[in-house]
């Protein structure tokens, strides 16, 4: 079948469907046989499925380099052929999709392995071992969908993957759907999943409009066909497409104003936060813009809007991250902020810089999230240890939040491995030389400085805040003294969790080598796909400024949180200094409340009105009860009384009565006496004879 049709002997392009098939096979195995398999077997199957997809991705990248990066399409099956619309299940292997495949399957595999250890404990802390298998089924489904997203050859196939990952995101955010993040019975997690899904619906609506407009304007959804016609299309149409697409990007990649779902998405298990809500799925929007580079390059107005949206998001989310106490919430807002960097980059036309940051961010943010998961589990273990040490006193004790940084402190003593891993991730995110984040972020800042000074200012402040909130986190979590008893008993995580982290840490450290100034491997690689991808000159000015800003931010964070460590119960020192501003940061600038007041409450009012007034009062009470019911009742009464009883029954009863009367009189003749019959016979004979005689 697919293997035997190899067009280029020695190359592996025809293997590309297997990047989807392997995860699907993995999930089917776990779905069908998982009930009887041990946790280790389930985890191995899932990780293997993802790992094989990674192997295929590597082979594809190798094949691609062998053909000098020329895009290849692999036809799998016919899909939709209606009139001029010709859509097939066609995979596209080019340098851009290959990068995404490698990131998704590579980071995905590491997170799968990590999740074996993480979920093993998580399902036990939450007392539902049966969900272990479900988790890996969802995770494999996610990999498959993400692969469809990045390897599709048309917008519609991309959209299939786009929706598929949205579904997986929903399923995994609400994975512990019957409890909140602290395992209390509640619908909080399910609500978070719903929120993500609905916010994404808004974005997907925009994306769909973009697809429809594309089809209307170009008569096709296939990438090459669309891009080849861009020159002839009116600018207004392309602007419309790109801006509609931006709504989709804002939804999926958590940009202003649709970002609100991502912080809540942290309700999902930490590997999910790392894989879906940091490393891969949320970067789909960035990929989409990079994929549509010819469209965006054609309209500068749209580019500017995209860049501004990204930059505003980067700064806005960074300010919120400063005021958060939950270790994962800080990372969530950091992710939004970094996604803002990427969107700003691809918006500015710096597609390579955006993709570069996407890749390095996938490494270090996955590392940070997974380390945070390790910390949370470490705290859980400490909590568990204490609960058993002090005897069981469930119920009346206050619920302990293992993710709250105010409960931590001095964890580097108890969890040294995690500490060092976290440090690597932090330095990479803060953009300290020579970590990966330094190179990728500088490329974005450089581009911004050259072409969009306004964007540069916003991003530079965001970068400063990034270093600050990461410094704050480090000082609060790992230094100072333990603020709770639990932190004193925190335990290090097992190797199944720390080893994948080490790999990610190595990647975070060395990821910058992908696109070192002067060599520009990634730029050379991507310019086969993205026309006009140019490598900016490395500027010591920009790099120096951003490094100085980052170091300054870390120094300030040390002044505030490191020098005089936070004591238990002490409020954040920033609270005194910034006052209401910090309250705003702490409460996410009341955006959720604003949305609630502006959209959700209005929507509820509308729904209430529709339900109460329109449906119940008008539709049910008036139309159904009064009009239809009354009229029908009247009609039936008329049909029943005058028509049925009065007329039809009268005929039937009258006939019966007449028959009865007739028979009553006739029965008197039939008296049973033979002699009277004989008399009748005689009379009859006499009558007949008389008639015959006298006629």
């Amino acid at each position: 079948m697919i293997l035997s049709e190899a067009a280029n002997p020695g190359l592996f392009f025809n293997l590309v469907p297997w990047i989807v098939f392997f995860p699907v096979i993995g999930l089917l195995i776990n779905l069908i046989f998982g009930r009887r398999m041990s946790e280790k077997a389930i985890g191995t199957v899932a990780s293997l499925a993802s790992g094989l997809a990674f192997v295929v991705s590597v082979l594809l990248a190798y094949s691609l380099s062998a053909v000098q990066g020329h895009a290849q399409t692999v036809y799998l099956a016919e899909w939709i052929h209606i009139g001029t619309l010709q859509l097939d299940w066609t995979f596209r292997v080019d340098t851009l999709s290959a990068v995404m495949m490698l990131v998704v399957s590579g980071v995905g595999t590491l997170i799968h392995i990590y999740a074996i250890g993480y979920m093993h404990e998580d399902v036990r802390f939450k007392n539902d071992v049966g969900r272990f298998r479900r988790f890996f089924v969802f995770l494999n489904l996610f990999i498959a969908m993400m692969m469809i997203l990045v390897s599709g050859d048309s917008y519609l196939m991309l959209f299939v993957g786009w929706e598929g990952v949205g579904l997986c995101s929903f399923l995994l955010i609400g994975f512990w759907y019957d409890m909140d993040t602290l395992a209390r019975p509640s619908t909080a997690n399910a609500d978070a999943g719903k929120k993500a899904f609905i916010a994404n619906r808004v974005g997907d609506f925009g994306f769909l409009l973009a697809i429809f407009t594309t089809f209307w304007a170009f008569g096709s959804l296939q990438f090459d066909t669309v891009f080849s016609q861009v020159e002839h299309a009116p600018a207004a149409v392309i602007t419309a497409i790109t801006l509609f697409m931006l709504i989709g990007v804002a939804g999926k990649s958590a940009q202003v104003p649709l970002y609100v779902w991502l912080p809540d998405a942290m309700a999902g298990p930490t590997p999910v936060s790392a894989l879906i809500h940091a490393a891969t799925m949320v970067t789909a929007g960035v990929y989409l813009v990079a994929r549509s580079a010819p469209l965006y390059s054609a309209v500068h107005g749209a580019q500017y809007i995209v860049a501004m949206v990204g930059a505003v998001t980067a700064l806005f989310a960074a300010t919120i991250a400063v005021g958060q106490y939950d270790i994962k919430k800080v990372l969530a807002y950091s992710t939004i902020s970094q996604l803002g960097f990427m969107v700003a980059a691809v918006g500015m036309g710096a597609f390579v810089a955006g993709m570069f940051h996407l890749v390095t961010h996938a490494f270090f943010k996955a590392l940070l999230f997974l380390s945070a998961g390790s910390i949370i589990l470490g705290m859980e273990r400490g909590h568990h240890h204490l609960a058993h040490g002090h005897g069981e006193h469930d119920g009346d004790e206050e619920v302990f939040d293992p993710g709250d940084m105010r409960n931590m402190g001095n964890l580097r003593k108890r969890m040294p491995v995690t500490f060092w891993l976290y440090m690597v991730g932090t330095l990479a995110l803060a953009g300290i030389f020579p970590f990966a984040g330094f190179w990728s972020k500088d490329e974005i800042l450089l581009d911004a400085k050259l072409h969009f000074p306004g964007v540069y200012t916003l991003l530079a402040i965001a970068a400063f805040l990034t270093a600050f909130y990461m410094g704050r986190q480090i000082w609060m979590v790992f230094f100072g003294q333990e603020r709770t008893e639990v932190a004193e008993h925190a335990e290090e995580s097992p190797p199944v969790m720390t080893v994948p982290l080490m790999v990610l840490a190595a990647l975070s450290l060395l990821g910058g080598a992908l696109n070192l100034p002067g060599v520009y491997t990634l730029t050379r690689w991507l310019e086969h796909t993205i026309e006009g991808a140019e490598a900016g000159e490395f500027s010591f000015m920009v790099a120096g400024v951003s490094t100085a800003l980052a170091l300054l931010a870390i120094f300030i964070s040390w002044l505030l949180y490191g020098r005089k460590p936070l004591a238990a119960g002490q409020p954040d020192p920033l609270k005194k200094m910034l006052g209401p501003i910090f309250t705003g940061m702490e409460n996410k600038w009341f955006v959720d409340e604003g949305y609630k007041a502006v959209f959700i409450d209005r929507y509820n009012d509308l729904a209430y009105f529709l339900a109460q007034t329109l449906d119940w009062k008008f539709w049910h009470d008036w139309l159904h009860e009064q009009v239809i019911f009354r009229a029908f009742k009247g009609l039936t009464r008329f049909l029943a009384d005058p028509v049925d009883l009065g007329f039809i029954d009268a005929i039937a009863n009258g006939l019966a009565n007449k028959t009865k009367q007739a028979s009553a009189s006739l029965r008197r003749i039939q008296n049973g006496f033979v002699r009277s019959y004989a008399l009748s016979v005689l009379l009859g004979v006499v009558t007949i004879l008389g008639y015959l005689l006298f006629k």
């Binding site: 008296n671 049973g672 006496f673 033979v674 002699r675 005689l682």
Partner: protein, 100 residues
């Protein structure tokens, strides 16, 4: 030579007696006998007309009637015996089960 009207008168009288007997009497045997009487009244009339018109078929018909009467007696008497056995009576006024 006795005129034929005498025979016919006898026949009519016999028939009337038979008919009245059937209509009036309650005893099944008597009714039966009255029926025989009417049959024989008819026979008398047949024979009288046969001798007047000198046609033999009238006399032949009498034989048929007598044969039928004999058969009727056999069946009728059997019926009466059967009725008597079940009802212990041959009063026809008590045999009125078949009334409307």
């Amino acid at each position: 030579m006795v005129p034929v009207s005498y025979y016919l008168t006898l026949s009519a009288v016999l028939f009337t007696i038979g008919a009245l007997g059937v209509l009036i009497r309650r005893n099944a045997l008597i009714i039966f006998m009255s029926v025989e009487l009417m049959l024989n009244a008819a026979n008398v009339a047949f024979v009288a007309f046969a001798s007047v018109y000198e046609v033999l078929s009238g006399q032949i018909f009498v034989f048929f009637v007598m044969t039928v009467a004999a058969a009727e007696v056999a069946v009728g008497l059997a019926l009466i015996v059967a009725i008597f056995r079940t009802k212990h009576s041959i009063d026809v006024d008590q045999l009125n089960n078949l009334k409307g």
